[in-house]
């Protein structure tokens, strides 16, 4: 089976800092992959490249047969206009486009729409799929009503799916942190992804909440969605992940099953520390 | 038709739109007080048609929107005649409103040609138009033997109008207009235009804007090395001009202006009366506003009614009515026949503008 996501030789440099330095890995459909590594290893940066937010210095990212990194012709490079043009949206794939292709993500710090209700947050994620034109919105045609209704139902469905039980009309800022995390995942799911990138979803959750999160991630996988998560909680990672990729200084230093990783001396030295008791 | 049909008893209301806020707000009270003085005098002398006059004033902020609602307010208040209008741009949109309500207008200050070009029957200008003022300016330029001239405006309606007229007439008269410059009003630094004048060194430069900027330009141009004559238009003829320019910067300044009381012998009484009423000396367009009220009152008296057609008839029929700007008779297009422009210059002691040349010779 060919991979859903192929990252090869990805490099990202900020001035002198090589945040990602020749990273390659693959993700297959409906698997749970964990990316771990010391702080500053380049995990978030790699996510940002894959989802189109950062423009990598070099390398390629293929998702579902499509190139997410779109190299500019040499001609424009020669004119030194590439960064400028890229900021206008040329020679790059915008994150919104990546999302439409079926890749969703969450952020390391919660990035919900703070002045929108829970329901609207999730409805927003249906943007790309909603058939709703300008005139039909103005005139409230039956087509518009149908679309809105479908949108509400779909959004509610995802809220239910992640186990959110509160009122959907609350503003997200009124929710406790754990519930906000859930809404964020519901929102990502509503974009109808084949691949879901989660950046430290368990940070700040307590033990019980982490348990619930693990169950949720498994159920997402069971829908046929591949899940890639960055996480520092090794207890969670070891139980959840089918495969683990370890980064250090922007490079991949290991790739394997949880058992292999837990025994890998390189990983222990760089990341786990000696006396970490894996739960 | 008008729904402000005059009730026939009670005071006759005259409406006046003038700027009381915004950048031109300095002129509002000069105009209001001038008009009020006339109203008071007429009322003391028994009023018009046996009725008292009343002045209703509204702010137009020199802005079309405010002016329109002000005009509508005046119409709703039941005015019979309009004696206001300072900024041409703000006055223009009020004309159809007054016209429709059957209200004749004597406009004391605004003087863009467009005001009368619309051909509305009730519009009369008692300030000389741009064309007339430009003619006076050109005449004086020829008189002092200037051949190369410059013209500077401030991009407002009145100023640009006048500058255009001056350019056209000067060219016709065989003068060369070497510099046409525009400045932004409300600023302090006009060194760009000053430098230009100093470089080109025209014999005469005509400034068609207001005194705030005029004073600054006079000073900065002299500093930059301009030595020609600086002629200013009526918007700049104010005692403040000399104050702003500073001592020693006004020798070469002349102005085109209609006569004001301090230029006319024996008008001290008028100035005293005004000062007593207003608590301040008269300023630009105090006299014109005073005259506007008197002209209108006279026309109503002559017509014997406040009916639109008769009042217009009355205004058209005025012959050599005595005003500060000289005897007044309206031309066919409802403007002054001569404009009555004279040349004034600054008295180095008082800083006030005084008569220099009445252009009759």
């Amino acid at each position: 089976m060919s991979a859903l996501l192929e990252v090869s030789d990805l490099r990202l440099q900020f001035g002198g800092v090589k945040a990602v330095d020749g990273l390659s890995f693959e993700v297959h459909a409906a698997e749970i992959l964990a990316v771990i590594g010391p702080n500053g290893a380049g995990k978030t940066s790699a996510f940002n490249c894959i989802s189109g937010f950062y423009l990598p210095t070099s390398g390629s990212v293929r998702f579902d047969g499509r190139n997410i990194v779109r190299p500019a012709p040499d001609f424009w490079h020669a004119l030194r206009l590439v960064p400028l043009l890229q900021s206008f949206g040329f020679f790059r794939v915008l994150p919104s486009r990546v999302t439409k292709w079926g890749m969703a993500r969450t952020f390391q710090n919660l990035r919900l729409f703070r002045e929108m209700s829970v329901l609207d947050n999730v409805k927003t994620a249906l943007h790309a799929r909603l058939r709703e034109g300008f005139w039909s919105t103005l005139l409230h045609t039956p087509g518009y009503r149908r679309a809105e209704e479908a949108c509400v139902r779909e959004a509610r469905g995802w809220l239910d799916f992640v186990g959110y039980q509160g009122s959907e009309h609350l503003y997200v800022t009124q929710l406790p942190y754990g519930e906000q995390r859930r809404v964020e995942i519901a929102r990502a799911l509503a974009t109808s992804p084949q691949l879901l990138l989660l950046d430290e979803p368990a940070a700040g959750l307590n033990f019980n909440e982490k348990q619930a999160l693990m169950a949720l991630i498994r159920r997402i996988r069971d829908l046929g969605v591949a899940v890639v998560l960055i996480e520092h909680d090794m207890g969670l990672v070891m139980k959840l992940a089918e495969r683990i990729v370890v980064l250090n200084y922007g490079k991949e230093i290991a790739d394997g099953t949880p058992e292999q990783i837990a025994r890998d001396p390189l990983v222990i030295e760089a990341y786990l520390g000696v006396e970490e008791e894996a739960r | 038709g008008g729904d402000s049909a005059d009730s026939g008893d009670g005071p006759i209301k005259f409406g006046m739109l003038a700027p009381f806020s915004g950048s031109e707000s300095a002129f509002g009270s000069y105009m209001e007080n001038g008009a009020q003085l006339a109203v008071n005098e007429i009322n003391e002398a028994g009023g018009v048609l046996g009725r008292q006059l009343e002045l209703v004033v509204e702010d137009d902020a020199c802005d079309a929107t405010t002016a329109v609602s002000g005009a509508n307010k005046l119409v709703t208040d039941g005015i019979v005649a309009s004696v206001g209008g300072y900024c041409s741009g703000a006055t223009l949109p009020t004309l159809p409103i007054f016209d429709e309500a059957g209200i004749p207008m004597v406009i004391p200050a605004a003087n863009s040609n467009e005001l009368v070009d619309q051909g509305l029957p009730g519009v009369f200008l008692i300030n000389g138009t741009g064309d007339q003022q430009a003619a006076a300016a050109v005449q004086y330029a020829e008189q002092i033997g200037a051949t190369r001239v410059a013209v500077i405006d401030d991009a407002t309606s009145y100023s640009a109008d006048l500058a255009d007229a001056f350019t056209t007439q000067a060219t016709e008269a065989g003068l060369t207009v070497e510099v046409t410059a525009t400045v932004t009003p409300g600023e302090n630094d006009y060194s760009a235009v000053a430098t230009q004048l100093a470089d080109v060194k025209p014999d005469l430069a005509y400034w068609t804007g207001y005194y705030q900027e005029g004073g600054l330009i006079a000073r900065q141009a002299t500093d930059a090395g301009f030595t020609g004559v600086l002629m200013v238009a009526d918007g700049s003829v104010d005692a403040k001009f000399a104050e702003i320019a500073g001592q020693g910067y006004t020798e070469n300044v002349v102005g085109t202006f209609t006569q004001t009381p301090d230029m006319i012998d024996g008008a001290d009484a008028w100035i005293a009366a005004y000062t007593e009423l207003a608590g301040d000396a008269p300023g630009p367009y105090s006299t014109q506003s005073y005259d506007a009220v008197r002209v209108m009152a006279q026309a109503i008296d002559d017509a014997g009614s406040t009916e639109f057609d008769s009042v217009v008839g009355g205004l058209e029929g005025l012959a050599d009515f005595d005003t500060f700007a000289g005897p007044l008779t309206f031309t066919d297009d409802h403007t002054l026949s001569g404009g009555g422009f004279v040349i004034v210059s600054i008295d180095p002691d008082s800083g006030a503008f005084v008569l220099k040349d009445d252009l009759q010779g």
Binding site: V17, G40, G204, F207, N208, A270 | -
Partner: protein
Amino acid sequence: MSSLEVDQADVYYGRVHALRHLSFRVEEGEIVCLLGNNGAGKSTTMNMLSGLVRPRSGAARWNDLDLTTAKPWDIVSAGLIHVPEGRRIFSTMTVHENLLLGGYTVRDKRLIDQRLDQVYELMPRLAERRRQQGGTLSGGEQQMVAIGRAIIGGPKLLLLDEPSMGLAPLIVKQVMDIISAVNTHGTTVLLVEQNARAALKVAHRAYVVETGEVTLSGTAAELAKDPRVVEAYLGA
């Protein structure tokens, strides 16, 4: 006599009753840990102690300082330093400038330099990144800056709000070691942690806070064995 004491404190956010009659105390030289679910009111407690939010009723005293009325900056000058949740790094300032700001209340330049060296020694990663903008650091690096900043202020009482959040296991261990080290140098520490396992290892005593109230307290060792704590915060 020199201790932190919170007595029957009540804090409201609008209609939300965040702290309900919360009471606890911290003696000089201790490491005390607050455990609790999300939204239990741990951060609110910290904010109250550093003067960022005001209790509606109740008392909070540290030595002779009334924390319910003192201004945040006066509290800091007195030596109570709060490392807030979410790090709060000054994003466009360099790592070095961030650290210098930590010494804002310290007048003695030599003392600052001395502590700077100490911090760079403790966390060599920061020395590497000295000139980098704070905002571009990775999450873990930011946490180090936040702790480093506090150390430069020379805290007598240090409040740490979830210092291990988002840190790699190795670093968590380091951070906990730093906390112990700071404590043995004479700084009292009040620690809020989700990572109960790590926290109970360094702490002397702990309180469990639930919906704004203290529901359990005891020495760290006792609590680590308490079945209720094990079930809710440590996992069997």
